[in-house]
């Protein structure tokens, strides 16, 4: 049991059951929907009004869908779920999404 990921012994790298990750881990699914990199988007929480980069939101993956929460107040700000009917995107917990201008020569 040599892996740094293999025992529940945070903070040296330990596994937490149902670990909460961050928006970086959820980016693959959102990139497919938004047609743009989600991680640099500034998201404003609908509950407490704080802003954070999508990449820093806390993220729960692996359930029936991916849920993103505000790091300040833990409110749900965004959710994506794949169902037989199609893909649900629920942004009702956020009040705005600021997409940076595309990088490149000005």
């Amino acid at each position: 049991m040599t892996s740094d990921l293999s025992t529940p012994a945070a903070p040296d790298g330990g596994a937490e059951s149902g670990a909460v990750l961050d928006g970086n881990a959820a980016a693959g699914d959102f990139a497919g929907i938004l047609a743009s990199d989600p991680t640099t988007v500034t998201v404003r929480c609908g509950s407490c009004g704080s802003t954070q980069a999508f990449g820093q939101l806390s993220a729960c993956l692996g359930g029936p869908g991916t849920v993103l929460r505000c790091r300040q107040c833990e409110a749900m700000v965004a959710r994506v779920a794949k169902t037989p009917q199609g893909t649900w995107l629920d942004l009702s917990g956020s009040s705005s999404w600021l997409f940076l201008p595309a990088p490149g020569p000005a």
Partner: protein, 273 residues
């Protein structure tokens, strides 16, 4: 918008030259493997059409069984951009579903699917104007070292001289990834592309190592004396959630404001269908 269906075929050709990031799967063929520690290895994949990526980005990897069952995980890109080529470094999670296959079973010529590059936030491109002259602090826990070493490699390739330090927390000597490369990179700090490297062993310390075993402390993230500034202009932290939270706490204690810290949490990314 009424006849989008009819014109869908042309919509593609009129689109911007960069396709939407990371949303389609490509075939990848294993063309090289390099051991990195007792239980990790780098897999080099041939991916025709791979246009490149930034250090710190990741890919989603998908394995599909003969019966159609598939499993998907995220892995950081382990090398700076090279056309048609993707490398990942995977650490074995002994009872995991995907990592044992990637570390122990996959053979040259075998195929899997990748999509990406994904993520533009946890990235450091040499010359990034928002970092300026730096310095840059990289803090890794376990396999979280992978994207940070990619940043160091890109910086070396670009002969970028931003003062940089890697603080790497690991359990013991057997867990050290990229050992020879990190040693070489930190041997002569006046050489171009060199970086200060601090190894923080949390359980078992190799003979001759000055620091006793303990978790990362605020002492470990103190700037080297050669730095022009007491605080780094940008800090990248990567590892498990527990490690990242611990390191972020130390950074706050050391006086870092949130907007200088970028974090990425590794952990279960399983999507199994």
């Amino acid at each position: 918008m009424t006849d989008t269906n009819a014109t869908e075929g042309q919509a593609d050709s009129s689109a911007e030259e960069t396709p939407p990031a990371g949303n389609h799967w490509r075939k990848a063929t294993l063309i090289g493997v390099h051991p990195q520690s007792w239980h990790s290895r780098t897999l080099v994949l041939d991916v025709p059409g791979w246009a490149g990526h930034l250090p710190g980005q990741h890919v989603d990897v998908r394995l599909t069984a003969a019966d159609g069952y598939s499993a998907q995980r995220s892995y950081s890109l382990a090398e700076p951009a090279t056309p048609d080529r993707v490398a990942v470094t995977v650490d074995l999670l002994p009872h995991g579903e995907v990592s044992p296959y990637l570390v122990e079973s996959m053979e040259l010529g075998d195929e899997l699917d990748v999509r990406g590059p994904i993520g533009g936030w946890f990235v450091w491109e040499p010359g990034d104007p928002s970092i300026g002259d730096g310095p840059v602090l990289l803090i890794a826990g376990g396999s979280g070292v992978v994207p940070l070493v990619t940043m160091l490699r890109a910086r070396k390739r670009a002969v970028d001289s931003t003062p940089t330090m890697l603080v790497y927390s690991l359990r013991g000597p057997r867990d050290l990834m990229y050992g020879p490369e990190l040693e070489e990179m930190s041997a002569d700090l006046s050489a171009p592309g060199s970086a200060e490297v601090r190894l923080v062993y949390t359980r078992k310390v190799p003979g001759g190592h000055p620091r006793p075993a303990s978790h990362l402390t605020v002492e470990d993230i103190k700037p080297p004396s050669a730095w022009p500034e007491p605080l780094a202009a940008r800090v990248y932290v990567c590892g498990s959630s527990g490690f990242v939270d611990h390191a972020a706490g130390l950074l706050h204690k050391a006086g870092y404001p949130d907007d200088r810290i970028r974090t990425e949490r590794f952990g279960p990314t399983g999507v199994d269908r």
